[in-house]
Amino acid sequence: MQVIQALLILAFAAPAVGLMATLALGQRRSKGTGIASTAVSLVLSILILSSFLSSGKAATEGITYIPQLNIGFSLYAYPISVVLLLMSSIVFFAAAAGGNVKGIKYKGSVSLLLLFQVAATGLFLSGNLLMYFIFWDIGVIAAYFMISALGTGGRRRSGMKFLIYSFAASVLLLLGIIMLYYYSPAVSGLHSFSIPYLIANASSIPDGIQTAIFALLFVAFMIKMPVFPLHSWMADAYADAPTEGSMLVSGVLSKFGAYGMLLLFLMLPIAKNYSQYVFALAAVSTFYAVFVAMRQTDLKKVLAYTSMAEMGIILAGIASLDQIGISGAIFGMLAHGVTIALAFLVAGSVEMMFGERNLALLKGIGRSAQVPSYMFIIAILGITGMPLTAGFIADLLIFIGAFGAFGLYGLIPLAAIILMGSYLYFFVEKSFFSHGPSSPHEFSIGALQKFSYALLAGSVFIIGSLPFLILNAINLLKVL
């Protein structure tokens, strides 16, 4: 067995072991367990990335556990999965360290976080679509409990809405996967859910069926990303989740959809026929989100719609179906994950310190809460694609791809970034660095949360300044 295979198994096992340890140990040790487990996962995902760069594509031995249907389980390292694994490990580590759920809910919160990580790791590394689906649903359930049991505000309602939308996505996904399975050619009487197999063979599915599958899966992933007009679950879910919930749902869960969308476009040749419509939808979704965001007053909702706008841009990159554009989209998923998690961490700190998220009521946070405020600026830099932050490489590559595919129209969504920057800096002016007397107390944040900030902000800059670390892996994606 190669090193990378062992690493893949370890990476998948780490959060599972952490989860068991958390459940077994007491309330007081749960935070430490969570942090330790996610730290191990981060180290493993970095090792996987580096050994992937040296050894290339790799998969573990598959275990076929439902031989009747050729359903198996194997872990699979290829460019998209290693990058997304790295992104999710960073966000999980930061969420474990920076979350602010208190008291009796501690153990529950850490357990859910680790369950979510099991799901995310399994999903990103899974070599077949059925496992992808199973982990998708586990992730959804973990996120649902995070929102509805640990959240704030109208958490029950928001959790319900989140779950219904997510479940709608997952049933469509299930049907699409089953159809993909049966309509792709069988090898010696057995069909296969294997992703590489489907990428290689889905082209022989008749066009009509391909269109049906494309429609089913596209809608499913649209909901999850989310893309206009199926985004209604998002704002409430992001807003009412606890800090780590918002970080994970926006940073990691949305990538479930984006990753699936990418696979869909790589898998079905019919997607090419629809790419321009998808691009148009992506553009509409981006602008729509931006315009809604600028009218929000809840900081978390502002960030939620901003996140949605960014997902629209990532979708634009996927729709370009161009090597560079798709590389940009993958890079964008990484960039968006860490950046938006940073932004939501700020929202969490602000809420914890001032007991308030309404931007109309918050004034001059910048003087009493310096760290979160400057971190917010860093997040904005990432969101608006400043060079040396991760967002820049993503935007550059995505729009090179989009320009190649759609000409000048391809550049239209870039204009949304101007608006994004405008309203984000507007909120900074009104609430963070606004004039007026400073709040009577100086707030300080805990060492763990500071570490979480450092981790995320550091990632934003390191990924942005040393993009070759990631792009060398992405360049190995030779499917187009």
């Binding site: 003087r367 694609g385 400043m386 550049l411 970034i417 002016e429």
Partner: protein, 580 residues
Amino acid sequence: MLPVIVLVPVIIAAFLALATGSRKLTGYVATLAAAVSFVLSILLLYNRSVHSEVAWFSIGSYAVHLSFVTAPLNMLLLLIVSGIGTLICWYSVGYIETPSQRGRFFFELLIFMAAMMLFAISANFVTMFIGWELLGITSYLLIGFWHWKEKVPRAARKAITTIIIGDIAILMAMIILWSSYHTFNFSSILSAPYSSAITVSMSLVLIGVFTKSAQFPFHEWLADAMEGPTPVSAFLHSSTMVKAGVFLVAVLLPLFIKAGLGPVLIAVGVVTVVLGASNALTEHHIKRILAYSTIEDLGLMFIALGFNALAAAMLLFLVQAFYKAAIFMGAGSIMRANDEDTEIFNSYGSGANRMLFVSNAIAAVSLAGIFPLSGFFGKFAVESAVSIPIYIILLVIDVASSAYIFRWLFITMRQPEHSSLSKARYSHIPMSMLAPQAILAAAVVAGGYAFFVLPGYTGLPSLSFNVIGAILETIMVAAGFAAAYIIYRKNPDRIPYTRLHKLAFNNPYVNSAYSAIAKSFYAVGYAVSGLNTLIDDIFEDAGDAFKYFGSAGRRIESGQIGLYALVFALGIIALFIIFG
């Protein structure tokens, strides 16, 4: 030796500043680091026109590099930045009095300086863009340095909002150029055959340039940026950062000419010059007057570039940095002596400190354009490059600029009622604020020499001197001086208040146009948010529809066994009808 080495001292010092925080030493370390960078820049002069690059990342089969070049133009900007930067750091040692602000200030200032130097030596779009965007963000942070003061957050936001427009425009241009030529290198694009991509992308670059260099209609942020600390105004918002746009056009000038954008440059430049000069005449914020003057200077440079007169533009580019930085430092000192009051009519007695007054006067005289100070040569070079109609306009502008700068000088040197108090205050201005200005004033005097050597150094056609032009210009400047002397020296409190004045003061409603645009976007946002709620409701109603069916269906469950039997029978009949 890679040219990037010049960045190293300032970057180290920046993080040192962040770490050491409030100590006074921080400022001196910063100054020293800037000075080391300056010395390194001078050493780089021996490294002429070397193009060097480091691979940054590769995508597909293409590699993207970070490229640097030390061609004469680059060296010119590099020396201006590191030289003036050193003086600004020194000035700031005295200027920033609150210890807790020191670390942050020097960090932001030095990062800015590093970004500007990176921009100066960049040889491709990506490298340039890294510097370019860092300029924007450091500028934002520095304008908002005292964010708890009134007007400051708004000014900072206005700056960054304008600058983002330009950033995205340049990013678009980069994408288009790369897609056509598969390179980001300036030199490769400059030598590439012309295609329509150049016209499109250069138009976009122009938007970026106009936002950064405060040209109409993007010029208003610069005036508001004066809410920032004075060293920032002196460094970023007059002598260096705002000229990044001019520099970029200068580097890519052949492309703009090929794309036929020269007339655009001229037109925008003329409009901006007129707006800048007229606003400067009516403004009474001590720094905003100078800011509008900067806007005007930049307009002049663009006009020169529009006429493809690179040497003239670069001469003004150089000398303007000296006199503008000097006069801003003077403004800072005057404010220090007048309780940081920004209202020029509340500023008195700048004559009380001899060193300050002389420096101010030299800078003002140079700004107005009086022979033989460097400002004269700069303006003269530009004016001799333009066509006749533009020349006539510029002559009128000469009167105005001379008038507003002497107005500035005369108003600030009025004697207050308690002149002794004022004298005491002026004597408390620290030497670290006065000495850098004096050094700059010396450079202003000597800078005229560049008229004769700069073209040679940069390899451009030399500038020719003609006496008639010089005399004409001198007459205009004298007229402006006379006007200022009569109005402001004799009766300093009498402000001519006319409709024209009002129009100029309100900056032809540019700000109202800005807010109208912002409001229209917010209106769209309002409409879209309404739609958003509607979509939300539609999906919820769809959910409720099922519940409605449920409640209706529940009626069948009445508990009546007879009904159940009836349904049973009906069910059988229905199955027969369907399948039988």
